[in-house]
Symmetry: C2
Subunit: 208 residues, 2 copies
């Protein structure tokens, strides 16, 4: 199996490379440390499996996945990341990922997953599956609600949200209300915290 590894942490790449190198049916054929680089390398190498982190500077991993999958629908991509927010997992799988692993997993789990995915299977470890299951029944935020949420996280009042989105303050308020109800939050502050925990928005950087 020819593997492309995409991650901006050289030390982690080293670790994965060591694990892969010890297998006689796998080899790392390319590495990338950013989204655009990942797309380039995929075009050049056509790997059987791609290991992809989601948190990277610049273009994030999700966009890279979407690009690769739209160009190469048969690409097998395994997401390997630190965070386990259900929304982030769902977005990645919708983009076309075949598996979603957390970085705190063991070597064996990584190797097992690579082999499963190579056989064409999809895979979610129970830890991740459980997180998704816990929010199966929740209905997702709509596009407008996401926009409002991001502005609220920047400290915008309802009036400012209205101005920036060119809608009335009343409309912004009603969006905020449904955000609170969908997320089960008591106020806008808790809504932002819950959304960050669940991977709905990324407050550490900026956009989703």
């Amino acid at each position: 199996m020819r593997i492309l590894m995409v991650d901006d942490h050289p030390l982690l790449r080293e670790g994965i490379a060591a694990v892969i190198a010890a297998q006689d049916d796998m080899s790392i054929v390319a590495e990338a440390s950013s989204g655009p680089e990942a797309i380039d390398m995929f075009r050049k190498c056509r790997p059987d499996i791609t290991l992809m982190d989601l948190q990277m500077p610049g273009m994030n991993g999700e966009e890279a996945i979407r690009n690769i999958v739209s160009e190469f629908p048969k690409a097998r991509i395994i997401v390997l990341t630190n965070y386990s927010g259900d929304a982030q997992v769902i977005r990645a799988m919708k983009m076309g990922a075949s598996a979603y692993l957390l970085k705190n997993m063991l070597r064996a789990d990584l190797l097992d997953t690579i082999r499963k995915v190579h056989e064409g299977k999809h895979y979610l470890p129970s830890e991740v599956a459980g997180i998704i299951a816990a929010h199966m029944m929740d209905d997702a935020l709509s596009g407008r609600e996401m926009d409002v949420l991001r502005l609220v996280a920047q400290g915008c009042s309802n009036k400012e949200v209205g101005n920036r989105m060119h809608i009335s303050e009343e409309t912004a308020k009603s969006h905020v209300s449904s955000i609170l109800s969908k997320l089960g939050a008591r106020d806008r502050t808790q809504a932002v915290v819950i959304a960050a925990r669940r991977g709905i928005i990324d407050i550490l950087n900026g956009a989703p």
Copy 2:
């Protein structure tokens, strides 16, 4: 140099181990994946250098550092973590860390830092130093303000903050006001986001 490595990511440990193993003046003498385990291993092995992640399940790295340094004041600890919030860096250094590295650094940087720290030096990469410098003039939140901030992040109103802390709503309000002014936030929501970005609180889990 005898090195103890503390991190809950086996794959990253593998990577660091590979890098260290290639050096003829260093070796990994022990590994730990949690705070208590780190303290145990330190007592048993008395390493020259300890590489420590801050984000770990259970006891966090900061507490482990404090425990180790109070028992072994000559311990040389290098923090190796993902996040770069200025408050987190400052807390770690106050706890007694000798250096603060980000996980996206190169092998060479890690090795350089290990050697510098082994000589008794302290070290902050310019990337990290810059983040601290940007907030040098800010005055830190007081203990009570931290308590209030954590409750606010949980969606508490001023009244609820007052009840939970056994102070009046008015006092809670005045704490919130100074939090807003110290963080430069427009409202409590933005205050929580800024505090999370700067590593003042950790909204992804719970406590600071």
